[in-house]
């Protein structure tokens, strides 16, 4: 009888682990760009048309020749295929968790612009405020632009390079951080966020909002 129990018990464990394995292996691919997203099917994407007063421009086939006095053209004239502009940010939550004095907290995410055969793009950056304590006006100071390796340097900043060169975030007007004229299918830039506080910094949770804007060339 004991042998039968053992076998049933082993079988239950085996089934459980099999299900566990199946569940754990399916959740990895969920957040990537769907390849189907590149298959936009339009009959004529770079079109032009005459217009009349208040006529919706929905027919991609121009029925009449272009009138130089009034027309609407979509897309780039030098690209004859369906090209949409795609912007991806890999992680929208930069968690520094609980800040500890003299212990820098570093997080990263990635910005990707796809379908750049249009000829170029730029990404601008704007933060709403410095890292500021919730329900308070106490904030963590901005970092001075430069190499930041020392744990006794305090502040908050970002880097786009691997050489520890950090910049402060802009708060008043958008600042262009990436300009590209490469014809790559996709370009990815890693952004590193770093914060370090000293012993006199008030204890609490600090937060802000950082906005990235991707714009194609004109």
């Amino acid at each position: 009888m004991t042998k039968i129990y053992n076998k049933i018990h082993q079988a239950t464990i085996a089934i459980t682990f099999t299900i566990l394995l199946l569940f754990s292996s399916t959740s990895v691919t969920a957040q990537d760009i769907n390849p189907e997203s590149y298959r936009f099917k339009f009959s004529n994407l770079n079109s032009a048309s005459d217009i009349s007063s208040d006529i919706p421009f929905s027919n991609p086939f121009p029925s009449t020749p272009i009138n130089p006095n009034h027309y609407l053209k979509t897309g780039f004239s030098y690209i004859k295929t369906a090209i949409s502009f795609i912007f991806t940010i890999s992680d929208l939550s930069i968690n520094f968790n609980t800040l500890t004095p003299n212990t820098p907290s570093i997080q990263t995410n990635k910005l990707t612009v796809s379908n750049n055969i249009i000829g170029g793009y730029s990404i601008t950056l704007l933060a709403n405020q410095p890292l500021t304590m919730k329900n308070s006006s106490i904030s963590i100071p901005d970092i001075t632009p430069g190499i930041w390796k020392n744990n006794s340097t305090y502040g908050f900043g970002y880097s786009l390079t691997n050489n520890n060169y950090f910049n402060p975030f802009p708060y008043t007007s958008p600042q262009t951080i990436i300009s590209s004229n490469n014809l790559n299918f996709a370009e990815t830039t890693q952004v590193t966020y770093k914060v370090n506080i000293n012993n006199s910094q008030s204890i609490g949770d600090y937060e802000n909002i950082i906005n990235f804007i991707a714009t194609p060339i004109y």
């Binding site: 769907n34 897309g75 992680d91 929208l92 000829g119 300009s179 950082i210």
Partner: protein, 305 residues
């Protein structure tokens, strides 16, 4: 046989079933701790509109969400050229003209495509002018910040080049600011050109033109067409070809060549052109041969001593 020995298998099976169901329930109810992502696709990336006062037009944009569920807020922001390569500088402090109507905020689920209709209505009283604007789609995705951290938001834009004009009043004019290449070039390297064009008119146009290259016998041997980029009013743009480079890659050129760049602004019959000349010879090879023979000669000379 004892009673307990009869009941034991049932209890045991119940316990096993309970264990199995508990694990299944845990697996199906627990949400995976994945990072929140933003991924937006917009088409078209640009529209070029010429409208008369009193007219209106609509354009449908296709916006697709390839990331997590989000809320989209469309808006219009003026821009100006940021450089000579077509990049834009947003001007959020400037108010856009009140010619545009857009929907308000709307939710956009993962994988969902939304048609967004932009309507442009030019009042009868509008003055002829160019307006350069970005249709901005701001995404607001739920943040997962705990304790200290930064919430990241993202936006994607599509550019609008709008010309308001009366019929037959647009007069595109341009001026070549720079057309150059090094005066002396090696026969085994590509010939790089720099071409900067200024729009001297009040309206944007497409840069339609090419560089024609002539050999020492005045025969046209190559044509390099410019990419049809948009040149905004009173701005300068450095032109390229479709491949983003303005190079000529001939097979062993030799002698004096001339290159003539010609631009005919869109809807215009007036062309602007400029001609430059340059010399091509294999000076690197010649230098290497001279050094080689010098070395041979010096070697023989040294052996004599």
């Amino acid at each position: 046989m004892k009673i307990s020995s009869i009941l034991l298998p049932r209890q045991f099976i119940k316990r096993q079933v309970f264990l199995f169901l508990s694990i299944c329930l845990f697996l199906t109810s627990a949400s995976p701790a994945l990072a929140q992502t933003l991924s937006l696709s917009v088409w078209p990336p640009i529209i070029d509109v010429v409208l008369q006062p009193g007219k209106s037009i609509s354009q449908t944009y296709q916006l697709k969400n390839l990331g997590n569920n989000t809320i989209i807020t469309p808006s219009i922001i003026p821009f100006q050229p940021a450089d000579e390569f077509g990049h834009i500088q947003l001007l959020p402090q400037q108010a856009p003209p009140q010619y545009f109507s857009l929907p308000g905020s709307f939710p956009l689920k993962t994988g969902q495509t939304q048609n967004v209709v932009l309507k442009i209505t030019i009042p009868e009283t509008a003055q002829p002018a160019d307006h350069y604007l970005a249709l901005l789609f701001q995404a607001d995705t739920k943040s997962l910040i705990k304790n200290s951290g930064s919430t990241i938001t993202g936006s994607i834009t599509s550019n609008i080049l709008l010309t308001i004009s009366q019929p037959n009043t647009i007069n595109h004019t341009a001026s070549i600011k720079q057309f150059s290449t090094p005066k002396f070039l090696d026969s085994f390297t590509s010939i790089p050109f720099t071409f900067r064009l200024q729009n001297t008119s009040d309206n944007h146009f497409k840069t339609i033109g090419q560089i024609n290259i002539f050999n020492p016998f005045k025969q046209k041997i190559a044509t390099i067409p410019f990419r049809e980029d948009n040149l905004l009013a009173h701005s300068i743009r450095q032109l390229t070809t479709q491949s983003s480079f303005l190079d000529w890659n001939p097979l062993f050129p030799l002698g004096k060549y001339t290159a003539t760049a010609t631009i005919t602004p869109q809807n215009s019959t007036d062309s602007v052109s400029q001609t430059i000349s340059f010399f091509v010879f294999p000076y690197k090879l010649l230098l290497a041969l001279i050094l080689f023979f010098l070395f041979i000669k010096l070697s023989k000379h040294i052996k004599l001593f």
